[in-house]
Symmetry: C2
Subunit: 506 residues, 2 copies
């Protein structure tokens, strides 16, 4: 490395490889999106093969020895790089080194275990019997333990897995966080449960498909989602996917007997999509063109879904239109009743259908189980009993069967241990960010009340989206709010909102 | 090469590379389909980049030196291969050798010329001025001449280009064929033109979008198109694309003021799609899993569109349903009138809107021009006058401007010289094949009259689809019909059908 010019040339070659890889990865994205939205039945087998081939090519591009050498040279002799370039190199090198720690044999073994576990999970769900799944799940746990050892960790094997989804987060921090959840939230929610139930039957009348679809599109537009850089389609499970910041697609589903299904999925996925549409195109294919972590991604979807979409301010602006669209269903339902209806709190069995508060018990239970599995203090044999006990303990519900209990989530069968906590992190970050946004610009709230979400979006763009992965989650939180993630903000939000709705004091 | 086993292993590695390449090529297909059907405006730039990256990867896979060595070894020491395997190797080697004749520099130069020509063509169309396009078109012609020299040819430089689209076809044969067209068809069509015009105004009443869409789907189903291995969508220009024989998609467009637009595009693309759905999945990625040529592909679409879709037999089965779907528009229009209406013959300026007969004059004009350009007996400078003269001479129409004349087709701006003749070859093959099918099984026609197209599809599957590229177009034609392509079959068909409709004898 003789000169600035050499370094820049080397950096350019690094960028070229990263973009080539991104082109292949995003192509896989298009194939996957198409699979969920369009694929005819018989096309599935060849499509899987095509995706596998592209995945292999992307892997080859990234794990190429010469590319690794380039990375290491750039990481050590980086005087001529600017801070953003340095960050891109540093984050990529971390990923490269991680990938090098896992042998090809291990990767194949893991992928086979996942395939077996996924099929066992499907079978077990059909049989509604955890026993059918147990062995393969045990395999996944063993492989995740092995992965943690291969990757290495300072304090806890779970740290190594968590780092995949939430770089920089530690088990220790999560333990503290969920202690707060247990201490503060369990009692508060129990008080709410003792109150008279809210009637929200009007949300489950027949809402016709076409009208729901149109309303969802309007909601997305109103959030600031750019339809010239994206589109919405139908799929079995709603998701957001991006092929560049200029093509960020969302999907939703419509249940004519449950209006909230479509509504929250649109706003939730819209929140994810706004983040992706706000990433800098100049950093395409590079870490600074990517989202920080699953937790921060989820903070964007939750902020829009809960802090905005389930707020009274939002519906002050939109309830009139909604009522105009569904006059019969909402006949006699005033704004106050509607607002209460969409904020009903009730314990339930299924995580994805949980309300804003109980949701975190679902996550906490999974976190406690995952942590114990990784420590070896819990084995898969008696997992179902542990699961059911925890549901009784935290939510006072009895799990009637495996399908509505331990078999409900796909994550473990996909080899994803360490993923669940990011859901709660998302809500907690969302509360802290939204609090800060409103503090920075009190006009944000008044604008929302008038149907104008632009000031909020501007704040998110400036503070979060435009930076890509320049800051990690902790740095970002500190930078924006002046302090680390603090459960207090979520708790304040919950007490303020639900305390008022239910007439409960903390 | 010591043993049968070694040869088989080598063949397997050949197949693996071909399938890897096919996976990448079909992925490009998915990205391209998505571009036409779904892509949000802003997504175009990154999408082009993604397609370019995958194209580069596919090219690298195919032109790899070791792969070439494998091919050459397999081609020379092929005793242990079965006839199908030999054919796969032989056809692939031909393509490999062709690709090796074009240097990387030439390929880049051509692709840049195409990009420039395409943009010039767009500009010229906007300005309705051929002069804007002329220089870039001259460039394309020069590059195509150079390509012909690099590839090599026996008799005529045009042969080298023709071979890309219609392997084995020669300029000499086309000259003979179009001589037949000129001698036999021009006079016959002139006689028709002298007759009283057919009234088909009922086809241009308002046909609502949704009803047209539904009718198109029914027409596809009725042909035998498998919706479990495909789907239909809307796009600006109708097309067929396949990602495997299990995923073959068609698109259509709907003009509420022109029912025929959707109708013929559905049946035409359906014909292409049936061919692709009938290719053997076991030969995925290999020549025997591919269509023979553009001419044979077009024979399938034309056979369904014209020989079936515009026949009285077909409408005997379907006219009742059509009328039920559009009772107002077809009020007072009996089957006889409808049949005449969809078979109206009238000269026109635009190739893609031409009737079954005038169509071939459009193609002939392009063929004559292309051949002369390749010979150097015509230059781009006075091309517009030549074009307009030929339209006057063959069709007795005056070209009013460049847009409705020389600027109407995209092909040359895409560097595709040698493509146009395959359109006419398609119709001529279709006539010969359909004649043979009805001769082999007279029940084919009676079944069509009852709305059952399966016997015809079975015949096409057995005689054509299942073989992939095992036979070339000439061999196939000889094998099925006992003789080479013969214009007589098309002429007989035309005289029989239009002679009756217009009361004209040849």
């Amino acid at each position: 490395m003789n000169s600035k010019k050499d370094t820049q040339q080397l950096y350019d070659s690094f960028v070229a490889t990263m973009r080539k890889r991104a082109d292949v990865e995003y192509s896989i994205g298009v194939l996957s999106w198409d699979k969920e939205v369009n694929l005819p039945d018989k096309g599935a087998a060849f499509r899987s093969q095509q995706v596998a081939t592209l995945s292999g090519i992307a892997h080859e591009i990234f794990t190429d020895k010469a590319f690794g050498d380039t990375l290491e040279t750039l990481a050590t002799k980086n005087g001529a790089l600017n801070p953003k370039q340095k960050k891109n190199v540093k984050l990529t090198l971390k990923e490269y080194q991680r990938s090098k720690k896992l042998s090809k044999e291990f990767v194949i073994k893991k992928s086979q275990a996942i395939s077996a576990a996924y099929h066992a999970w499907l079978k077990a769900r059909e049989a509604n019997d955890y026993q059918v799944y147990k062995k393969e799940l045990g395999n996944i746990v063993a492989i995740c333990r092995e992965e943690a050892e291969l990757i290495g960790y300072k304090d806890h094997p779970y740290d190594a897995l968590l780092d995949i989804y939430e770089p920089g987060a530690t088990t220790k921090e999560l333990v503290t966080l969920f202690k707060d959840v247990r201490v503060q939230l369990v009692d508060f929610v129990a008080k709410i449960r003792s109150k008279r139930q809210i009637d929200n039957a009007f949300l489950f009348k027949r809402y016709t498909k076409k009208k729901q679809w149109d309303y969802g599109l309007e909601a997305l537009k109103n959030m600031g989602y750019d339809f010239k850089a994206g589109r919405q389609d139908l799929s079995e499970h709603p998701f957001t996917i991006n092929f560049s910041p200029q093509d960020v697609r969302v999907t939703t589903r419509i249940d004519e007997r449950d209006f909230t299904n479509m509504l929250w999925s649109c706003i939730h996925e819209g929140g994810h999509a706004l983040y992706e549409q706000g990433l800098p195109t100049s950093q395409y294919g590079l870490p600074l063109g990517q989202a920080i972590s699953l937790g921060i991604h989820e903070s964007q979807s939750r902020l829009w879904e809960n802090n905005v979409g389930r707020s009274k301010s939002y519906w002050k602006a939109h309830y009139k239109t909604l009522k105009k669209n569904f006059p019969k269903n909402l006949d006699g339902v005033g704004l106050a009743k509607f607002y209460k209806g969409i904020n009903k709190i009730a314990p339930n069995l299924i995580r994805t259908e949980a309300d804003e508060l109980h949701y975190h018990f679902h996550v906490m239970i999974r976190f406690e189980i995952e942590k114990a599995l990784m420590e070896g203090s819990l084995e898969v044999d008696n997992l179902e009993e542990v699961w059911n006990e925890k549901y009784k303990q935290y939510m006072d519900v009895k799990v009637p069967d495996a399908k509505r209990g331990i078999l409900q989530d796909i994550h473990w069968s996909h080899g994803s241990i360490g993923y669940f906590p990011t859901y709660s992190l998302g809500s907690f970050y969302a509360a802290q960010f939204f609090h800060q946004a409103c503090k920075d610009h009190p006009t944000i709230l008044t604008a929302i009340e008038k149907g104008n979400n632009q000031p909020l979006l501007d704040w998110l763009r400036e503070k979060i989206h435009q930076h890509g992965r320049y800051y990690n989650a902790k740095q970002l939180c500190k930078r924006i709010t002046g302090e680390p993630l603090n459960f207090k903000y979520f708790m304040d939000y919950a007490q303020d909102k639900f305390g008022t709705i239910y007439g409960v004091k903390s």
